[in-house]
């Protein structure tokens, strides 16, 4: 009996040890019971607290540091030292977009943090010039990284990005850009008594940011390209969103940056957009002979800018006829051609014009109103 009690004591002791010290984690994909994944995918009502937001993944957030300006020289090409434009940071895949497809306006915050133990992220100094100069103030691994928001509303991942002209600085402390993105339009379908609600394509509202910046050309960047345990530099991005308040929905925002809340408090550089290639720019672009799709509006005077750097625009016509001067404006300082008018009931218009140094070359764009 005494021996049996001893054995039972050991067994009870073992039970106690297991209970206190064993931590068992359900492996991913093996949860059962309470964590039930249901595959129905339908809803019987629109739940306004369920938000649908398209966000970029880490794959789109990579960027390239180009201290030597190598990206400026294509294969088998030549470039002067001035043309190399060394010391820049460019995105690996262009701008990244965030789009609200929810049934309500949302306040979207994008929290950006520079990462990298051995990197110094330059903060905003006394002014833009000083800030950029600080990148090359010594031979440290200095980086001035910024995020440039879009100048146009992004309704889908296909919408073309256009830089708004401001680069909000990213350091190793989180910088948060805050946007209000309007609700999408929804349609509800009744399928045999089961109601499903879906956002209508391209009716949402969104923004985009493009990474850019400067990197110290005097620094030794070899540790960042070695094969074994290279030093790292990167960026972490956390999105957060919630229903926008009434005040946020009415916010006047930041001029030229759709959706950016006026309360955004992140230092920014003013960016000079690069001189455009020959083409048409209105937040979107079309080549000579191409088509610009224009949304019909009940508002008057929808302005469409055509920008040809360093050229003079002449002989502007619409559908072959000389365009009445009331309906266009040429700004000789910026060399922009602005087409004005009431577009609420407009049909397609073919706009042609010439550039002064191109002789008889006529440029054509079809404005298609939808």
């Amino acid at each position: 009996m005494k021996k049996m009690r001893k054995q039972l004591t050991w067994i009870m002791a073992l039970m106690l040890i297991f209970a206190l010290n064993t931590s068992v984690f359900a492996a991913v994909g093996e949860d059962e019971g309470e964590d039930t994944v249901t595959g129905d995918g339908t809803t019987e009502y629109i739940d306004l607290e369920i938000y649908s937001v398209v966000l970029p993944t880490g794959k789109l957030l990579d960027f390239t540091l180009d201290p030597q300006g190598l990206l400026a020289i294509g294969l088998n090409e030549k470039a002067t030292l001035d043309e190399l434009k060394g010391g820049t940071i460019v995105p690996a895949n262009g701008a990244v977009k965030a789009i609200n497809n929810s049934a309500v306006d949302i306040a979207l915050s994008i929290e950006l943090t520079g990462t990298g133990e051995d990197v110094t992220f330059i903060e905003y100094g006394d002014d833009a010039e000083t800030t950029i100069a600080n990148v090359e103030a010594d031979d440290g691994n200095n980086v001035l990284l910024y995020a440039a928001p879009s100048a146009v509303n992004i309704v889908s991942t296909e919408t073309q990005y256009s830089a708004a002209g401001k680069g909000y600085i990213i350091t190793d402390d989180p910088s948060t850009l805050q946007f209000v993105l309007k609700a999408a339009e929804y349609e509800i379908e009744n399928n045999d008594g089961v109601y499903t609600a879906d956002a209508i394509d391209n009716t949402g509202s969104g923004t985009a940011i493009q990474l850019g910046g400067y990197v110290n050309t005097k620094a030794d960047w070899n540790d960042y390209v070695k094969e074994l345990e290279p030093s790292e530099v990167g960026i972490s991005v956390v999105f957060s969103y919630r229903k926008a308040t009434d005040d946020e929905s009415k916010d006047t925002g930041v001029t030229g940056i759709p959706g950016l809340l006026s309360s955004t408090d992140v230092p920014a550089l003013t960016l000079t957009p690069p001189a455009p290639e020959r083409g048409f720019i209105n937040g979107e672009s079309a080549t000579n002979g191409g088509t610009l799709t224009v949304t019909k509006s009940s508002n008057l005077n929808y302005d469409i800018d055509f920008n040809f750097a360093e050229k003079t625009i002449t002989d502007v016509r619409s559908n072959g006829s000389t365009l009445n001067a009331t309906f266009y404006e040429i700004n000789t300082t910026t060399n922009k051609l602005k087409i004005k008018g009431s577009w609420s009931s407009a049909g397609d218009k073919t706009i042609t014009f010439k550039l002064d140094d191109d002789g008889d070359t006529t440029y054509t764009v079809l404005l298609r109103f939808v």
Binding site: T38, E49, T64, K97, V225, V237, Y241
Partner: protein, 178 residues
């Protein structure tokens, strides 16, 4: 003498009973430990960093590759999140009364997500795989956290058909416990 030897031996029936009983008790102990371990932990589990991008320095050896990569379309560049962002847990250790996460039919990849507490980076929940079109609701955290309000970060992991990770995207949520 025989009596002394007999006194030192254990009755075979009793031995079998003890062994069987011990085995049953150990199994029961493991079952209890599983339940307790799944609901609480004594050590903090740190999560992987949140989603982000990597900076690559251009050198002669990689610049052509970088240029080509920039021209190619990126697969899995976007993910449509479909979720609520304020998760209520009636009490420590209880399942949420409202948490909702859906893998939108506009997506192409199965996902799972990790939930960490933003202040401590402690991993408090790791979801099962959620195929496209499926949803997960009202789940219970893997870790029991005390009553209070917390900022959490949900990191979605997109996986391929072999369940290998492709990329991530992170979204903040608010947790209200108790």
């Amino acid at each position: 003498m025989n009596e002394e030897r007999d006194a030192g031996r254990v009755n075979p029936f009793r031995k079998g009973l003890l062994t069987g009983g011990a085995a049953a008790l150990v199994i029961a102990a493991l079952a209890v430990a599983f339940h307790l371990g799944a609901g609480s932990r004594t050590t903090m589990i740190e999560a992987e960093p949140v989603a982000g991008g990597r900076g690559v320095v251009a050198v002669p050896e990689n610049v052509e590759e970088l240029r080509e990569k920039a021209q190619q379309p990126v697969e899995d560049g976007y993910y449509e999140t479909r979720m609520n962002v304020e998760w209520v847990f009636p009490g420590p250790g209880e399942p949420s009364s409202n948490a909702y996460v859906e893998n939108s039919t506009n997506n192409k990849r199965t996902v799972y997500f990790d939930l960490v507490l933003a202040d401590t980076n402690e991993l408090v929940y790791s979801s099962p795989f959620i195929p496209v079109g499926a949803k997960l609701e009202k789940f219970q955290l893997d870790a029991e956290i005390p009553r209070g309000e917390y900022k959490g970060i949900v990191t979605y992991h997109l996986v391929d058909d072999d369940y290998q990770e492709l990329t991530t995207v992170s979204v903040a949520v608010t947790l209200r416990v108790g």
